[in-house]
Subunit: 412 residues, 3 copies
């Protein structure tokens, strides 16, 4: 046995081989993310009227501006000398976005240059413009459609959101983020890894070891398996209806599809907790997780792993719950603030953030994708890679280096 | 209207076109600055007798040493193992600069290796040398002539200093930095941008928006226009007399040449202040600004944007005023310390430093120079670029990476 | 005399010429160190039972684990997703090293994958492995043999340790690190320079200027020369017996071989101290210094300059003294703690660390090796370079960038 021996001896169902990785070749190119998809940009409360804030999504520098309550998304580089307008927000008009440096002022709706502070009759007025991005603001979250400016038609937001399992399979359906009467609360923070490593960590049926002993599990005495082994082709369902979202669902609700591993004899390790607990995870394009019945039955956790640059993602963790009345809302708020945010979104998911960042250097230069040694548990992983490779709406190019990805110096 | 459309539709007087940018092609190569020019290195008070201090100018690492009151400038790399001598100043002799590591000792006047601490009879003594730089110390400032060692003759310091406007046009001339009986005080600090972005910010007639509301303006109730529009060919005067300094003067003193913009109707923006105020800005090679009658009439502000490396400059701000007697000097000192340094050099110019640094990433990889979208206000800018391209005494190469720019391992 | 003139005029015995540097060409390639040598990894007290700690040696990422008292060294990258196992130590078994992420568990002795926490029957079990490294733990120090996995036979640790001078030449021999009844204590810390600059600083007969006035010298009134000039071919002895360690010994004990320089008239500099003092320095492959009779007669200081990456080394400073009984040990401990650690290992050697780091940028891009200007004192230096070039057991490649140097994805 020596290093460098052929991979041909690997188990047939087990790790990835060179030929299988060809099935997700497009995914391997998507270091900057997929384009022509909807991504969350800010929570609504983070953008007050006449505020300007800059975000980076899949290499696109985007300035968000709220004016008279409406939210606009424009290229965050002034055409003149290339400064970011969001670096020094300046709101002089409800119709225009004005750059703080020389006062180039662009229409919020169309990005056309309308005036320059000290050159109100300049010949270039009306002749050049910055690009704009479609925006949807729903239930406290601002989503932006990021990609090619001429991509038409812009698909509905719902096509980039996870589906719940059908009522036929789970009559007690969790809350959906676009529903009316839902409580929606969460956080977002920067993760120091490529977005794909975050996705692959998010719903990984084999990574539960990192959560053993996490307080939210231990305090509820929930039976927490060592991991979940797929034991039939039903284990991972591919969701690929034509107009709908595309992704993979872990069918943990099917006892015949997954073997919940409760013991590893060689390591003398046993699952802790006594109360059997049911949840389910799904991963959808462009990289959004749904955990149904988490952190408690009836609630749902959404997670986005928004690509920023190749080595970072913005990690979004959002909890959604049905709230039919004021009392429900107060109760949800109480639980969120005192239990779920500190113990689920922070303590529990901090372990995931750690794991993603720990993978980063191995994958950063591209070799990890070829050198990884997958096992049976990774069938769920490869299912996602194939779906993502097949159904994405485009692969985002690397930005040019001056941060003008998707922007450019647009002329009429 | 879509991104990427031809620039051919731009206004004729307006933004730069590919053909116009060819007129300043040499300037675009000058990321490390122009060579064979005089640059300020330190204020005199910063170099005491037997002190050694290192500076970086246009990629040249230079050790300044004062011995018996005289200032010397030598290559700041010992020939032996390449350490910077300024990192651990060691002065054992008034005639020699001794490296702290093995004691290689070089003549202050000629850079020749004269002895080695533990090898006083070494065969290489007298056979190798480090290079030296011409130095001029005037009115509290140490200037070094940086460039090719064999450049001859070394031009006078005055050829790299700004000219005041002539007495025929302004009988109340401001103080000149080489005059006798002047008060000269200032600061220098590191700017995180290429030196050219600093120059272009310094005298920009269109950037006054960033200074609106600055305390030194507002407290004096000075009429501060939104910007200055050039309206005749007289607006920018090119200074190019054969032996003299080369540069551009903004002729703000000519009411027929510049339109002071007091209002932008579309933005509902009006100039503040009531007292009309006259100043003038000029920019000279190798990148030195003169603001006449600033911060008050009779005073002058000099600014150097000394190239250090491609992404930094040393920002020098120096105020000069006539001082005929001790009372004048006390008064100038009082104003400098309590008003001009905090409100002009710091508060007001902090905004400029911010703006330059905000441009840096757009220009850093070279694309900004081709992607910028200039307007009418930028005629002053392009005039400078042309003058700089035409009259510089050489373009500094990029340093080799080991900091030996302009140094090298000189042998006799 | 001008820069760039030919080096042909240099003194014949003096600086390196292009032809002489060809004699140590392999050394110039060894930026990541020499492979197939023994290096210190940790002090024994730094690795407690069931601890896992990661070290980087010559680009090899190595996880050290102690189980039931025995120390193991394994590749510090899990095969699965490439995380470092040492980042979150997890010890579930005395025979296995378990990765904290998914629980891939490898045999401590052979590195073979034995189980996966949630996939205890995975087909890849027993089919893949991580590599292991030979370990020797002696007198409080853990040494690892770093290099090619198939290098056979592994030479004894003693072949990579310095030799004392023979009893015929020094009847009062210092302690040897592998002796019984020795006191061994020290520190290690990161140096911000390539390991070769550290080596070349360590025993340099011309660098004593940086130690002038160091407290441990001055307080003992030791006669401290300005440097040592080699004056015969006996000055530097090459040690190259077939099975033994390879290196160079400075024969300071021979008065006819070295001229102790006590004065430099041109600089007016004289050696300080009155008590003549005898010590000797040697440098051995793979880069380990022995200073005999330092910091006091009978004691020895060992120093390793362990290559980590190309721009850093781990600087090991270890003092060794004979200790025949408990009283000796107490005395050694007292001196070490109160005098030798603060004044020798710290204060005195801090100056060396400073010097190495000061050389780094000059040598970092490779040019320093060609641009340096050596003098007579550097004969000792070039002797080492030749020995190192000739007798090393291999030159370590640069790591691939994902930290998998020497590791790789080993399959059976």
């Amino acid at each position: 046995m020596s290093a460098g021996e052929s991979a041909g001896k690997r188990g047939a169902r087990g790790p990835a081989s060179a030929s299988s990785s060809r099935q997700w070749a497009p995914y391997l190119e998507a270091g900057c993310g997929f384009k022509n998809h909807w991504y969350p940009a800010l929570f609504s409360y983070e953008l007050k009227d006449n505020e300007v804030k800059g975000v980076l999504i899949a290499g696109h520098e985007i300035a968000l501006r709220r004016a008279k309550g409406k939210t606009y998304a424009l290229q965050d580089r002034c055409l003149h000398r290339g400064v970011k307008m969001s670096r020094r927000p300046l709101c002089l008009s409800d119709e225009l976005m004005t750059c703080w440096y020389h006062g180039y002022s662009y229409g919020l709706e169309d990005g056309v240059l309308r005036t320059i502070v000290a050159s109100p009759d300049d010949p270039i007025l009306g002749k050049v413009r910055i690009r704009t991005y479609p925006v949807e603001e729903r239930n406290g979250t601002i989503f932006v459609f990021v990609g090619d400016e001429d991509y038409q038609p812009v698909p509905p937001l719902s096509s980039d959101l996870p589906l719940r399992i059908g009522a036929d399979e789970d009559p007690n359906a969790v809350a959906y983020i676009l529903d009316e009467n839902v409580f929606v609360r969460g956080i977002h923070r920067t993760g120091n890894s490529n977005w794909r490593l975050a996705v692959e960590n998010g719903y990984d049926p084999g990574h539960w070891l990192v959560h053993m002993g996490n307080t939210i599990i231990a305090s509820a005495d929930v039976l927490f398996p060592l991991g979940a082994q797929p034991v039939s082709d039903e284990a991972v369902r591919v969701v690929e209806e034509e107009e709908g979202p595309k992704g993979v669902m872990m069918m943990y609700n099917r006892p015949e599809a997954w073997n919940m591993v409760l013991e590893n004899p060689l390591l003398g390790l046993k699952a802790r907790g006594t109360k059997p607990y049911y949840l389910r995870t799904s991963m959808y394009l462009p990289g959004v997780l749904l955990v149904e019945h988490w952190p408690i039955p009836g609630w749902a956790q959404y997670e986005w792993y928004v690509p920023t640059d190749e080595t970072h993602h913005e990690y979004w963790e959002v909890l959604v719950a049905h709230c039919r009345n004021e009392a429900d809302l107060k109760d949800a708020e109480y639980r969120y603030k005192n239990v779920f945010e500190p113990l689920a979104l922070r303590d529990f998911n901090d372990n995931d953030l750690f794991a993603r960042e720990a993978m980063q250097d191995f994958y950063e230069n591209g070799d990890g994708w070829n050198k990884e040694t997958l096992c049976q548990l990774d069938n769920a992983l490869t299912a996602w890679r194939k779906v993502a490779s097949r159904y994405n709406r485009g692969i985002q190019d690397r930005p040019a280096g001056n941060g003008m990805n998707g922007g450019g110096n647009g002329h009429r």
